[in-house]
């Protein structure tokens, strides 16, 4: 649906470098990256607001690179929504149809339909200043959807909202996309937000796309230590890798050693970064008997327990200078009867040890 080929754009000291990306029809695609990584710039290129230095952008099979924003068939919801402050909600939403010189009655009908769909009928005659953040967001969505765009581009659509409503509005976005079948590109910097909405995700880092995949792929198999840090992998350790039969032995700085399945790993040996997600560490008060082959078993003592309600996070000190973060479901934690200060045993399956190149 959207195909970006070898896009390059330099702006002042920042550059989008060699970006290629394919977003499938009816997909909910998330561009995830930290502030200043170039996500907004990339969205503006898709909109046609920034002339690109080289490369091609195709939407629905048409090369839109030379086209103006109004001819690209896109709906755009920028950061902070950018509603027209001098127009009522009704006129904000109807703006696109007015530009098409549609008949008054058909504009009215279409705007009413959209306001109904997004639940903002009661706001029709209000001005944007009088709306709450969530209401503004829905009006901006309706305004972008009125021309039935082939592609919907959302730039940080929930960042301006408070934390309590963000989650539910994200789920509404996802439902809206499912019902309208509009291919959607959603820019965000929040990892949890991405997990709620994304079919697939592209990680943006310093003007490049460093990984594309499903949320679970990015979560479990980040392509680099930067990505891992950004998706809050929890435990990242520098290590020296060495082959050991069917396993890869990973001697971490600090005195602990992990084993990973060798076929999963591109690197044979050398300096690497090891990632173990906190939920993939199995905690027990006693050393497991007969662990499955390849399982890494470590001993440690619990330093700190943080109860986050649904989730409990534990800091476990292992070896000389290694602290591992372990997370458990609340119910699981309650049944484990582990408390701060306890001596525990940790087990990690070889397939849960993810090895990355040293950056």
């Amino acid at each position: 649906m959207i195909r970006i080929e070898q896009l390059n754009l330099a702006v002042d000291t920042f550059a989008l470098s060699n970006i290629s990306l394919h977003v499938k029809p009816q997909e909910y695609f998330v561009l995830l990256g930290p502030t200043g990584s170039g996500k907004t710039l990339l969205i503006e290129c898709l909109c046609g607001l920034n002339p690109i230095d080289s490369g091609r952008i195709c939407i629905d099979g048409v090369d839109v690179t030379p086209l103006e924003p109004r001819s690209r068939g896109i709906g755009y919801v920028p950061q902070d929504y950018a509603l027209f402050p001098h127009k009522t909600v009704r006129n904000n939403i109807g703006f696109g149809l007015e530009n098409r010189r549609a008949a008054r009655t058909s504009i009215r009908r279409e705007v009413d339909r959209l306001m109904g769909q997004l639940g903002v009928n009661h706001l029709a005659e209000r001005f944007p200043q009088k709306l709450s953040g969530g209401e503004k967001q829905r009006v901006a969505l309706a305004r972008a959807l009125v021309l039935e765009p082939r592609v919907l581009l959302l730039d940080e659509p929930v960042s301006a909202l408070d934390e309590q409503t963000r989650d539910s509005l994200c789920r509404q976005l996802k439902q809206l996309q499912k019902s309208t079948h509009t291919t959607t590109v959603h820019v965000c910097h929040n990892f949890a937000e991405m997990l709620v909405v994304a079919d697939r995700v592209g990680i943006v880092w310093q003007g490049r796309i460093v990984q594309v995949g499903t949320p679970q792929e990015v979560l479990q198999r980040p392509s680099s230590a930067q990505v891992a840090r950004f998706v809050q992998a929890g435990n990242l350790l520098g290590a020296r890798a060495a082959a050991d039969g069917q396993w890869l032995r990973l001697a971490c700085h600090g005195g602990v050693e992990f084993r990973a399945a060798r076929q999963d790993v591109q690197t044979a040996a050398g300096e690497v970064v090891v990632m173990v997600r906190p939920e993939n560490i199995q905690l027990a008060s006693a050393r497991p008997e007969n662990p499955p082959p390849g399982t890494t078993v470590l001993e440690g003592s619990v330093r700190e327990v943080v109860d986050l309600g649904s989730l409990v996070k534990l800091n476990v000190a292992c070896g000389a200078a290694v602290e591992l973060l372990v997370s458990l479901g609340k119910r699981e934690y309650n049944s484990s009867r582990i408390a701060a200060g306890d001596h525990v045993s940790l087990a990690v399956a070889p397939e849960d040890v993810h090895v990355m190149q040293k950056p």
Binding site: E44, C47, P69, I74, G75, F84, P85, N99, R143
Partner: protein, 276 residues
């Protein structure tokens, strides 16, 4: 004075404790002194005035002519000034080009330049070959009403440009971007979105141009002179009348201008505050 319309301090300081009270009192004393000084000046004006003389004087044909000339020249100046201010304010706010900072400074120059220098420069310009050629085509400026407008535009347009630029600086370009994705051309987005949003700032710019144009005196003396019924505007009247000792007449005109300036100031405040 413009900026106060656009910014307010993030929080204000509450006054606590003896130290705090003494400190606030000493800072506010300067405010009181300055404001009282200004008020004393205006009260003196008002107490000195002779209503009968004023009424008589305002019926004088030469003063009526000056009032009329001031009114129409400043109105034309506002129109011309805004014709430049709107596109220039927009261009300086939205576009970055090589030499942007230099151009921006040159635009500010007439604000900081002594107005008299502008008048003299105009006089000199029309003695150069280019100036002579322009006058030879029939567009006469020196010692003409047209010259009043030219002079006023040069010394006042920058105030309007600055106000309009500030207004566009405060309008998120993303609003225009959205309009462009909704079927507008670049120009369409400007006329349908940016311009209506900037209307208050443009009005403020117009008022600022007007106040400056209306009050200008020095450059007019140099460039168009002070000929009764011909190039006499209200400030010229004040000067001419007081120089022959008729201070009541000068004062009557001055108070009229004072009131108009106060009205303009209040208008700027009200229009500008609504802008936030």
């Amino acid at each position: 004075m413009n900026p106060s319309l656009f910014s307010e301090p993030r929080t204000t300081a509450p006054v606590t404790g003896l130290h705090g009270r003494l400190f606030a009192a000493s800072m506010l004393a300067f405010v009181g002194l300055f404001v009282l000084g200004l008020l004393a000046l205006f009260i003196a004006d008002v107490s000195y005035i002779n209503i009968q003389a004023v009424a008589e004087v305002l019926r004088a044909p030469e003063i009526r002519a000056a009032l009329w000339l001031s009114a129409w020249t400043s109105a034309v100046t506002v129109a011309i000034g805004l014709l430049f201010a709107v596109p220039m304010g927009y261009a300086l706010s939205r576009y970055r080009f090589p030499g942007h900072a230099v151009v921006d400074s040159i635009v500010d120059l007439p604000i900081i330049l002594p107005p008299l220098v502008v008048g003299l420069s105009l006089l000199v310009f029309f003695q150069t070959d280019v100036g002579r050629w322009i006058e030879a085509t029939g567009m006469k400026f020196v010692f003409q009403c047209k010259g009043i407008v030219l002079c006023q535009v040069l010394v006042s347009a920058s105030f309007g440009i600055r106000a309009v630029k500030l207004t566009f600086d405060g309008i998120d370009p993303r609003i225009e971007h959205v309009a462009m994705t909704l079927g507008c051309t670049r120009a369409g987005a400007f006329f349908r979105v940016a311009l209506p949003m900037a209307r208050r700032g443009i009005i403020v710019g117009g008022i600022l141009i007007w106040t400056r144009a209306f009050g200008i005196f020095g450059p007019l003396m140099v460039f168009v002179g002070a000929v009764r019924f011909r190039t006499e505007v209200l400030p010229t009247t004040i000067y001419l009348e007081q120089s022959v000792g008729r201070i009541e007449v000068a004062l009557a005109v001055a108070i009229l201008m004072l009131v108009l300036a106060a009205v303009a100031l209040v208008a700027v405040r009200i229009v500008g505050l609504g802008q936030r």
